[in-house]
Each structure stands twice: as C-alpha cells, then as structure tokens.
C-alpha cells in the first residue's frame, strides 16, 4: 500500500476512534432509555471548550486536564438527563426526540451567545505536538495519544459492562426494565450512570477533537454528533461493540471517501454519510451487530 493510502487509513482510524467514543455514549443511553440523545454531540463541544479553558491554567498537567474534562462531560450529561429526559419518560418516542433536539439547539446557541461563533485555536502542550516517523507515516504525538487513549477507554468500558455489578445491572435494564426492577435495581440510578459514563466519553472526545483539528467553535458538536449517531446505527443501536465497530467503519469510510475519490466528490461527504444512514435504516435497521432491541420483553 502506498504511503498516501496508509496515511488515510491512519487518519480514518483516528476519526473513527472519536466517532466510536461518542457512538458508545449514544448506544448506552439508547439501550436503556430508548431515546436518541441529540445533545450528546454538543457535550463533545463543551468538552473541547473546557479543555481550552483548562489548558490556559498554568501548571495543570495534561492528564489531569483530561480527567477534569471527562468529569465535566459527566456532570453535564447527568444534568441533561435530569432536566430534559427524566420528565419525558413515558412520553411518546418523538417527544423525547424533540426535547433532545431542543437541548442541543439550546446548548449550541448558548455557546454562540457566550463564546461567539468565532473559531478558537486549540493550543496543545509541546510534547503532544512532537512528530514521529513510523515507517512511511508521519504522525503527531497527539494522534497516537488519541488512538491509545480511545482503545484504553473502550477496554475499560467493556470490562466494566461485563464484570461489574453496575454493568450487569445496565445490561439487565437495557433488556427488560420491569424485570430489572424486580431484582431490586434502582432504574433511576442506572440511567444516571449510563448518561454519566457516556457523557464523560463524549467530553474526552471533545478534547481529542480539538487536539486533532486545532480549531473549535460552539457549533462543532452538531455534525459529528449526528455522524456518531449514524455510526451507532450502523453498528446497531444499543450495542456497545456495535458502536465501536460502527465508529471505526464510519471514520474510515469518510476519510477514504474523501481521500481516494476524485476531489469533486469530497463535498458530497456529508450527503454520503446521511445517505448511508437512510439505507441502513431501511435495509438493516438493527445494524450490523444489533439484535431487535425495539420490542422489549
């Protein structure tokens, strides 16, 4: 493979990692409350801006910043759940959808109001900007950091879901809420944790996004959020491995689409992504790895 293609694949993996982190959050939330959380993408945006603010504080080591950003995402996610999702429980699906859309638009416009729509530059600490040469590839440290951190976070998440008490409770709740309640599981807490964990991952994705692309603005969360949703659908909404798979597939497809096809087509990139979404919804509604999660026991 030529160096160019290799580079595209590498970029695709990085983009895919970020999509995967956000998609996992979508799927976790969807799996339990059966609602699409539109505001999820905007949590990414908040994560990016919080990172920017924290970087400006002198003396904060970057790993600590990363943790704080995840915490910020966590808190925001829980707030959103309390304010917008909990009151919608029991309402028809579409109502929850509109509500989360409203929260998303609220967040974006609050961002514009407070921060103005001007893109800001993202300043990474020196050591993350160093360049490495891996064979034919030229990569920055931040790229590698994104890949490694994503894989680590995903591994931790999978372990948590499979082994811990909370993880089993989440899986049970996702399958059958009433039966879970009969086990003594506190549904409200499980939902809160789902939002918390998913949102902390989204916050981290915001940090990564800023690091990768260098420029952030309050509207940055919207389209990537939608694309991460598409990734979750491709993998099968409600399935965490599906979200990861979907994220990487979408990231790779998007980058390769732009990188390998003649330049005329690259502007159609977004149309391509959403066309894929519609196709998947029509042909393979449960995605690649999902089961029919629509009907609950």
């Amino acid at each position: 493979m030529s160096a160019y293609v290799l580079e595209q694949v590498f970029n695709g993996l990085i983009l895919g990692s970020m999509y995967a982190l956000v998609a996992i959050g979508f799927s976790m939330i969807y799996g339990i409350v059966r609602l699409i959380n539109f505001a999820h993408g905007d949590i990414v945006m908040v994560g990016a801006f919080v990172t920017l603010a924290l970087i400006a504080v002198p003396g904060l080591p970057f790993p600590l910043i990363a943790l704080l950003v995840m915490a910020a995402g966590l808190i925001l996610g829980v707030l959103i759940e309390r304010a917008a999702f909990r009151p919608m429980r029991g309402a028809p699906q579409v109502t929850g959808f509109i509500a989360s859309l409203a929260v998303s638009i609220l967040m974006q416009n609050l961002g514009v109001l407070i921060l103005t729509a001007q893109p800001r530059n993202f300043m990474l600490p020196e050591y993350l900007q160093t360049i490495f040469h891996l064979g034919p590839l030229t990569v920055r440290a931040i790229d590698l950091a994104i890949l490694i951190a994503s894989v680590v976070l995903m591994a931790v998440l999978v372990l948590m879901v499979k082994r811990t008490r909370l993880g089993i409770a989440m899986r049970a709740t996702a399958e059958n809420i009433d039966a879970a309640r009969l086990m003594g599981i506190n549904i409200n807490r499980v939902i809160m944790f789902a939002f918390a964990i998913g949102s902390s991952l989204a916050g981290m994705a915001g940090l990564m996004w800023g690091g990768k692309f260098g420029q952030i603005d309050p509207l940055l969360g919207f389209v990537p959020g939608l694309k991460a949703f598409v990734a979750a659908v491709i993998g099968g909404v409600g399935s965490i491995p599906g979200a990861m798979l979907g994220g990487y597939l979408l990231g790779l497809a998007e980058v390769l689409f732009v990188g390998l096809l003649p330049p005329i087509y690259s502007a159609y990139r977004d149309a391509f992504v959403f066309g894929t979404l519609i196709l998947i919804l029509l042909i393979l509604p449960n995605g690649l790895l999902g089961r029919s999660v629509e009907e609950r026991a």
Partner: protein
C-alpha cells in the same frame, strides 16, 4: 336549516373578508419593513399549518419541510428569473428551461408540484420508518438536499445562491395562499380523511385493523404538506429576493416544529397563533441580536420555550382542537353525530 347554512357559510366568509380588509389597510398604511414582517408571518403560517398536516394530523415526524421549501423555492426562482441572465448564471439548465420566464403564480404552482413530487419519491422508502427513526431520516433528507444544492453549481449557483430575484411577493399573494392552506387543511381535518389521519396518529395498529391503508395516508400527508412548503419556499424567495442553500436549514425545521408543538399538534388555530407569535417574537428579538450582539438568543428562547411546553403542557396550547367557537357548532349540526373525538 337556516342556522346551519349561516354557520357554514357566514362565519368563514366573514373571516376571509375581514382578513382581506386587513390586508388592504395594512398595505396602505405600513412601511415596507413592517409589511415584510406581516409577509413573514403569513409565510410561517403557511409552513406551520402545512407541517401540522404531516406531523400533527398524521403523527409523522418530519424534519424535512425546509428541504421541500428549498426545492419549491429554487424552482420558482429559476422560473421567474429573467431568461437572459438565467442562461448565463446557470449554464447547465436545459435550453427550453432557460428560455422560460414565468409570472409568480404559475411559478409557485410549479414549485409546489416539484416539492410534492420530491415528497412522493422520498416518501416511498422513508415513510416505512417509524417514530424517531423517521425523524432522523427526514433530517438526513434535509442535509442531502442542502449538499446537492451546494454542489450542483451549474444548476443552482451553489453556495452563492441566486439573488436579485424580482420582489414579486406581496401581502395579497401571501394572504391568498394562507387562505388556501387553511381552507384545505380545515376541510381535510373535518372530513373522513382527516379522521383517518387522526386515527393513524392515535394508534397505527388499530387503524390498520380497520382497513386503513397506512402507506397511502402517510404519503398523502407528506405530499400535501410538501406542496405548501414548496409554495412557501417560492414566496419566501421572492420576498427576500435571494435564495441560498443555507436558507432552509435544520434550525428552520426546528423552529417550525416548535410552532407546531406549542400551538398543539393537530390544531390549525394553534399553528396559526404559534406561527404568528413566534415570528413576531423573532422580530422583537432581532434588535437584541444585532445591536447588543446577543446572537443566538432567539433560538435559546425558542428551545427553552419548547422544553417548557413539552414538560408542562405537552399537548400544546390547543391540543388537537380548534376553539369551539369556530368548529363546534358547525360540526355537530352538520352531521348530527358528535364528530370525531379528539
């Protein structure tokens, strides 16, 4: 008997005539800026009421309305554009099309029809989806339309859009179409078709068991709504005298949804009032946005308002009803039964 005829003819006729009178007075007394606000109110009424047909009556959740506006708006603009300039700016247009230059009304009709056709084509696959998946698919449609318009530059002039459109829209045209859309939707709502749509909204499975052809009803609702959206797009383009791909965005779709929800899905009166109110609110907030540089405050208020309504009064202000003054008497007497329960 006399009372019934009076109810069914007298009240609507009086409303239409007083509306016409109001239009005449407004045009004579207001300056251009204020007039344009009323024009926008009218256009938003057309949009909200037609969206109500799709979303409110039938329970389909479509965010694609601005996409239909774009189709209708662009076609109308292309048709009214002076022939000579057209050939220059849009080189890919077929010669017969480039040579056309139509007056407003036929152009609007063509735009509306084109939007309907788009709805038909898009509707067949997409309307098989349900609930929030349908919503997301319509959102995808919207984005795809935007991307296509931006990239098919030789047909649409891409991101630059078309400007210098003749300002053909005036309050009379807008009023005409407002009356048309209200008439059509009112008639539908109080007919068996309307009751079928409401039945589909309430319980699809039950409706199917009663023999309702779901697919047909849903496509009909979408297509009809799209027609008016297309017309509204044309009206809008000739009011603003310019049309660009970003004119018809997801934000607009969201604002329309806010109008339908706040007014009450399924209520025509609600849609009218909400559209008027929210358009005026946007105008009132505009100086805040531009002078105090508080950009985005308008959307913030819309979003908070929507959330508040969803939490505290999810059926909107009117629910699915019309004020009894306007509909109760007419309906009960006209067919003896108490009509569909709402």
């Amino acid at each position: 008997m006399r009372a019934r005829v009076m109810d069914r003819v007298w009240l609507p006729a009086a409303l239409i005539l007083s509306g016409a009178l109001a239009v005449w007075v407004l045009r004579a007394s207001l300056d251009d800026y204020l007039l344009s606000i009323f024009n926008f109110v009218g256009i938003n009424i057309i949009l909200a009421v037609s969206l109500n047909l799709t979303n409110g009556f039938t329970g389909l959740f479509s965010l694609g309305h601005p996409g239909f506006m774009a189709v209708g708006g662009y076609l109308t603009a292309i048709l009214t554009f002076p022939a000579g300039r057209k050939a220059m700016l849009l080189p890919a247009l077929p010669a017969w099309l480039a040579a056309q230059q139509w007056p407003l009304l036929p152009a609007l009709l063509a735009g509306g029809l084109a939007a309907s056709l788009t709805a038909l084509v898009v509707g067949f696959p997409v309307l098989r989806l349900r609930g929030h998946y349908l919503a997301v698919a319509t959102m995808g449609f919207l984005i795809i339309v935007q991307v296509l318009i931006i990239n098919l530059e030789s047909y649409t002039r891409g991101p630059l859009g078309l400007n210098g459109l003749p300002m053909l829209t005036n309050l009379w045209w807008v009023y005409l179409w407002v009356v048309a859309v209200i008439y059509v939707c009112w008639k539908i709502k109080h007919s068996s078709l309307g009751r079928t749509m409401l039945a589909v909204r309430e319980d699809e499975m039950a409706a199917q068991c009663l023999g309702v052809n779901l697919a047909r009803i849903r496509i009909l609702a979408l297509t009809l709504g799209a027609f008016f959206a297309g017309v509204a797009g044309g009206l809008w383009a000739h009011l603003v005298t310019a049309i660009t791909p970003t004119s018809f965005s997801l934000i607009m779709a969201f604002n329309l949804v806010v109008m339908v929800v706040i007014g009450g899905s399924g209520s025509i009166t609600g849609a009218i009032l909400a559209a008027s109110g929210l358009t005026l609110l946007t105008e009132v907030l505009r100086p805040l946005e531009e002078n105090l540089e508080m950009y985005g405050i308008n959307e913030v208020i819309m979003a908070v308002g929507l959330l508040a309504v969803l939490i505290f009064r999810p059926q909107g202000f009117f629910g699915s009803r019309e004020p009894s003054l306007l509909s109760g008497r007419g309906r009960i007497r006209s067919n003896g039964r108490s009509g569909a329960r709402e």
